[in-house]
């Protein structure tokens, strides 16, 4: 390995199974030229197998491809015809079935064709990297290592990077840098121990949960109710996750632990329970066979009831008092609440945490470099909000350690192995702002110094690490404007889900004024996703959550219900309610409808201000950007978005239309890209996007739909987002930025455009595909986007369209059916078709 800049021109993925094909898909998502290899088919086309695998990617859920058309960029290859191509690949990832003999045979076959600098990495989850390395030619072993992707690889942030003994240090650094920036992944260096870090801990946690569930006599659905969102883990919790993963896969992983970890003090628990073996024998493997721990009968979800040996309706509930306690307690008190609970469910929760903490403390030094790596692996690989050590530390390190010791002494824990001594010797923290504890050295290990991480201004923070962001410029209840010591101002929303209410609008307008006074550019960036869930549909209706109340407080009647009752009898009641979407509660209370419109006007003015301020504005987008959030994105001068950005104008779904400049902006873009002066063909596309409330399911698709412009930048790693956005802002500022000149001559599609769209609506309506109200909404959107009842080709300005947006918004708001839709959505979170 030399020190020259490491560039990956091409990648080859060997093995077109589920993982291999999806890894290849993610490579092309990242614009990396990729060969996907598979065994030659006996059919006429030797690439038949791999071609089929590539085709399948287009239908796979969740989508492995950012847009379907990317599938065409995966180059099909087979081991008979295309081995020469390997020479052109800088990284080769082997992802064939987990069979030592097969892998060995493959290595022998491909090794002669590897380029001089090619990195060869095996995506294994179960086999020892050093044993695999033995099968790899010795001369090339310094370029060999393991990369463990998590399924689904596009969406799971974690990759475990596992060196073999001979792995070259620079090679590993290069590979890590590549995986972080170009694939957008979180890389954790793991030791070559069975199941590496995430699966070792995650599967142990699952075994401990199964064990204690059984001991406590809890049903599967009850265990899932307890071990999901309630304790900061994915909604699918324990057994539903097992169904999704596949019960056979789960058993396989458990067997790997049993066979490879004979000396583990918890070894006796590494067994598949009889019921699990029974299900597998019956061919009930979970989701893929439509039956596992759960099954769906009609619309009913049923769960396996072991006592009755049959399926029954799933109805697992958390005991009410425990639920309230956990919901409204400070995080720091939660473990204590579990431990002190008299309820079997509380005891169960304590037990699974206790044994998990115990296991992590004992195994940490064997499997990971430091506590941070273990916690991040669990977060990124299993989707937990926090890793085990974080939760432990938050609950009071020494206190929890004492409780664990007490339980070990009392014979309550799964193993009587004592906690390692370092648990007692460290102070109260495994995670500190300086780094995290590493038991092997007995010191605090800093985060990696690899240059690639310089791009991560704010990496994924752990509890215990400093969580402040730069220097405040000004701060309100709704927004914070801040900087990192240069001339770029950053604006972050503080509202829940970063929704946009009146206070956020004021915040943006004030920030722009401040930016024009004292800063070179402004970036809108949120400290965590989403970018924005849109105009505030719910804020006024949600009861303020008591954050730190330990006792259960009687729930105050929902503000929404209160308003609703107050206004129900008045003719305009529901109109007002609907307008609350824009956080207009006050104006509504006073029945000042003019103010409602004035606030929509403010929304539009904010969008326009983002476009026409004298400093460049850059939206740094990650996650959802809906409705008003989308409109702000569309109005910033430049967008830097992560691939996992989901943008959409979803107003039509609640019976409204985009009125923060979204319709205007699409009309404007259609006019700007009009071919031979006719904006309609493009406008029709945009119209469908708005009227169908279509959501882009990747930043790439957002470009296809027109939410993002060709010049907008897509990046892969969300932790590099602020860095990239700031550089874009700086580039704009330093390139003599002036806002665009205001378009005063936008050709409209006019009445012919409206009629042409209406001809589509008429047919959908007659065919029963859309309701009367859908028709009305569709027509209003057409009216606004086409510039109203005008002669086609006549010229309008932006304000013309904005005024149409406002008027149509108010008109729809005045309809009973839109009111009903909003009310329904507010109550249930689901759309209403009426």
């Amino acid at each position: 390995m030399n020190n020259a800049q490491f560039i990956v021109r091409k990648v080859a993925v060997l093995g077109a199974g589920v993982m291999g094909a999806q890894i290849a898909a993610h490579m092309v998502n990242a614009n990396i030229e990729t060969f996907l290899f598979e065994l030659p088919a006996e059919a006429d086309d030797p690439n038949a197998h791999v071609t089929k695998a590539i085709e399948k990617l287009k239908k796979h859920e969740p989508a492995p491809l950012s847009v379907k058309s990317k599938a065409a960029f995966i180059e099909a290859a087979n081991y008979d015809q295309h081995l020469e191509q390997l020479k052109t690949c800088d990284v080769v990832i082997e992802a064939i079935a987990e069979r030592m003999d097969w892998k060995q045979a493959l290595y022998e076959k491909v090794a002669p064709y590897l380029g001089e600098q090619t990195i060869f990495a095996s995506n294994t989850s179960g086999l020892s990297i050093n044993r695999l390395a033995q099968a790899f030619p010795e001369a090339l072993r310094h370029r060999f290592c393991g990369v463990h992707f998590f399924n689904p690889p596009r969406y799971m942030h974690l990759i475990e990077l596992i060196p073999c003994e001979q792995s070259d240090a620079l090679m590993l650094d290069n590979l890590e840098s590549f995986l972080v920036t170009y694939l957008g992944k979180g890389v954790i260096r793991a030791k070559d121990t069975p199941n590496f870090i995430a699966n070792r801990i995650g599967v142990f946690s699952l075994l401990a949960t199964m064990h204690h569930g059984r001991e406590s006599g809890l049903a599967f659905d009850e265990v899932d109710a307890l071990t999901g969102a309630l304790i900061g883990r994915p909604k699918s919790a324990t057994f539903r996750t097992a169904d999704v993963v596949g019960l056979d896969i789960l058993a396989h992983v458990i067997h790997t632990m049993r066979d490879t970890l004979p000396d583990d003090d918890w070894h006796s628990y590494f067994e598949t329970p009889d019921w699990l073996r029974g299900l597998i024998d019956e061919g009930a493997l979970g989701q893929k066979t439509k039956r596992g721990v759960y099954q769906k009968v009609g619309k009913e979800i049923q769960v396996l009831d072991l006592a009755e040996n049959t399926y029954r309706a799933s109805c697992g509930e958390v005991h009410d008092e425990l639920k309230q306690q956990l919901k409204y307690s400070k995080p720091v008190d939660r473990i204590a609440i579990m431990r002190n609970s008299q309820h079997a469910q509380g005891q169960f929760l304590w037990a699974i945490h206790r044994d998990l903490f115990h296991y992590c403390a004992v195994q940490l030094e064997h499997i990971a470099d430091n506590a941070r790596d273990l916690d991040l692996a669990i977060r990124w690989g299993f989707g937990w909000e926090h890793g085990p050590f974080e939760i432990w530390q938050e609950a009071g390190w020494k206190q929890v350690a004492d409780w664990i010791n007490t339980d070990i002494a009392a014979g309550k824990s799964m193993s009587n192995k004592p906690l390692p001594s370092w648990v007692q010797t460290i102070s109260e923290q495994v995670h500190t702002s300086q780094g995290s504890y590493a038991p092997v050295t007995g010191t605090i290990h800093q985060r990696s110094e690899l240059p690639v991480y310089h791009r991560q201004l704010y990496p994924d923070r752990l509890i215990g690490e400093d969580a402040t962001y730069g220097e405040t410029i000004f701060e309100t209840d709704a927004v914070r404007m801040w900087h990192t010591g240069d001339k770029i101002a950053i604006l972050s929303f503080k509202s829940k889900m970063h929704t946009i209410g009146k206070d956020v609008l004021n915040g943006i307008l004030d920030a722009l004024k401040e930016a024009e006074k004292n800063w070179q550019a402004m970036v809108i960036w949120q400290t965590e996703p989403p970018f924005s869930a849109g105009a505030n549909l719910k804020q006024a209706t949600e009861r303020p959550k008591p954050q730190h109340v330990e006792k259960r407080v009687p729930a105050p009647p929902s503000l929404f219900e209160k308003f609703f009752k107050q206004f129900k009898k008045s003719a305009q009641a529901t109109v007002l309610k609907a307008a609350r979407e824009l956080d207009m509660a006050d104006a509504l209370m006073a029945r000042k409808l003019a103010e409602v419109e004035a606030m929509i006007d403010q929304f539009q003015q904010t969008s326009q201000a983002l476009r026409y301020s004298m400093v460049p504005t850059v939206a740094a987008v990650d996650g959802l950007a809906l409705g008003g959030g989308c409109e702000f994105v569309m109005h910033c001068d430049r967008v830097v978005a992560t691939m996992e950005t989901y943008i959409g104008l979803v107003e039509a779904g609640v019976g409204l239309l985009p009125a923060g400049g979204g319709c205007k902006e699409f009309a404007l873009r259609a006019a700007q890209t009009a071919v031979e002066g006719d904006p309609f063909p493009q406008l029709k596309k945009y119209y469908q996007t708005v009227a169908m409330a279509e959501l882009a399911k990747s930043a790439e698709q957002a470009k296809e739909l027109g939410f993002l412009r060709p010049a907008d930048t897509i990046i892969m790693n969300r932790f590099e987002l602020l860095h990239a956005a700031k550089l874009q802002a700086m580039t704009l500022a330093e390139s003599g930025y002036r806002p665009p000149l205001r378009m005063r001559a936008i050709p409209v599609a006019g009445n012919t455009g409206i009629a042409t769209i209406e001809s589509m609506l008429v047919n959908m309506h007659e065919g029963g595909f859309i309701s009367d109200h859908d028709y009305l909404i569709g027509k209003k959107i057409a009216y606004v986007m086409c510039g109203g009842d005008l002669t086609p080709g006549s010229l309008a300005d932006e304000e013309w369209f904005l005024q149409l947006e406002r008027a149509a918004f108010m008109e729809l708001l005045a309809t009973e059916k839109t009111q009903a839709r909003i009310e329904h959505t507010l109550k249930t979170g689901k759309p209403l078709r009426n």
């Binding site: 006719d678 309609f680 063909p681 009445n751 012919t752 409206i754 009629a755 042409t756 209406e758 001809s759 008429v762 047919n763 007659e766 065919g767 029963g768 595909f769 009842d789 086609p792």
Partner: protein, 399 residues
Amino acid sequence: MTKQIQDAYIVAAARTPVGKAPRGMFKHVRPDDMLVHVLKAVTQLCDGLDPAAVDDVIVGCAMPEAEQGINVARVALLLAGLPDSVPGMTINRFCASGLQSVAIAADRIRLGEADVMIAGGTESMSMVPMMGNKVAMNPVMFKHDENVAIAFGMGMTAEKVADQWKIDREAQDAFALTSHQRALNAIKQGEFRQEIIPYTINEKYPDLGTHQVRESVSVKDTDEGPRADTNEAVLAKLKPVFAVHGSVTAGNSSQMSDGAGAVVLMSESAMQRFNLSPLGRFVGYSVAGVPPEIMGVGPIKAIPKVLAQTGIKLDDLDWIELNEAFAAQSLAVIHDLGLDREKVNPLGGAIALGHPLGATGSIRVATLMHGLRRHKMKYGMVTMCIGSGMGAAGIFEAL
């Protein structure tokens, strides 16, 4: 009734095979080239004909724009090598365009103002989509309820017909299946051999490996639409396309297609002059209007009209080419007029054979003229429904 001074005779009738659109065998074949092909073919079929004697070439096309625009009749006749002196005209009556062109050509002769006419039709639905490349509706349609149906898609009108005539899904699917079975059988029996002039497709595409242009040549002589792999179960599985609770599916609707057809018509004196004998005689033609929302029942009005006009009785007809725009409207027409199902589309219809809009009329005239003669029958009819609410029917006599 008729004020004609002489009869118009069909002397030659030919067509291309019909390809599926938009991804079928003719997807890259221009509609004007297909027209050139059939114009050349029918002139050659009239051995001894002086091309300069052709008084006019009239071509039907339902979406006359882009590749089939700029008066495709005149462009194609020149490219076909007919002399400059021969004029050409493109006409449009949507799905009846290719029959209307035959009627106009016949009428010029019957009136005594022409002796040799060529009529035809061409359509590439692969290249020019239904409704054309640019749809731009008149706002007035939506100002008055009675005009809204002008905007109805054809499938929607078929749903309306199915509804009003109470034609259920099973009946439509059964009709569709018969169409395929008859068409497949007809191909097997070689029924279309006389009328189809094989089309040679020349395509050029890049060989990215060698950077050479590769040429491919293939000859097409069979209709692409009929499916041997269809059956009741396959048809029953298809989802309604035009209405949530509808019954009209892709399987019981006509196929989108590419194709062209042409017919040479002459007066008796012209036939004598060039020493040619007729395939048959043009007897008469009518069109009639119906409400746009049930456009499919147009033939219910047009057929009685042409029968009354020509004095021919329904029973005198041995063969009826009823364009199967949709199974629903075909069944409505068959039901209301009491047509004999055995006489209607004995070789299958548009559900199997395809419906290249403006070309279909001329194509089916070719089918009918050759078919009547082959099967030693006398009178036959070509009839179809027409978008926006019309029906057309033409009667021919085999000689």
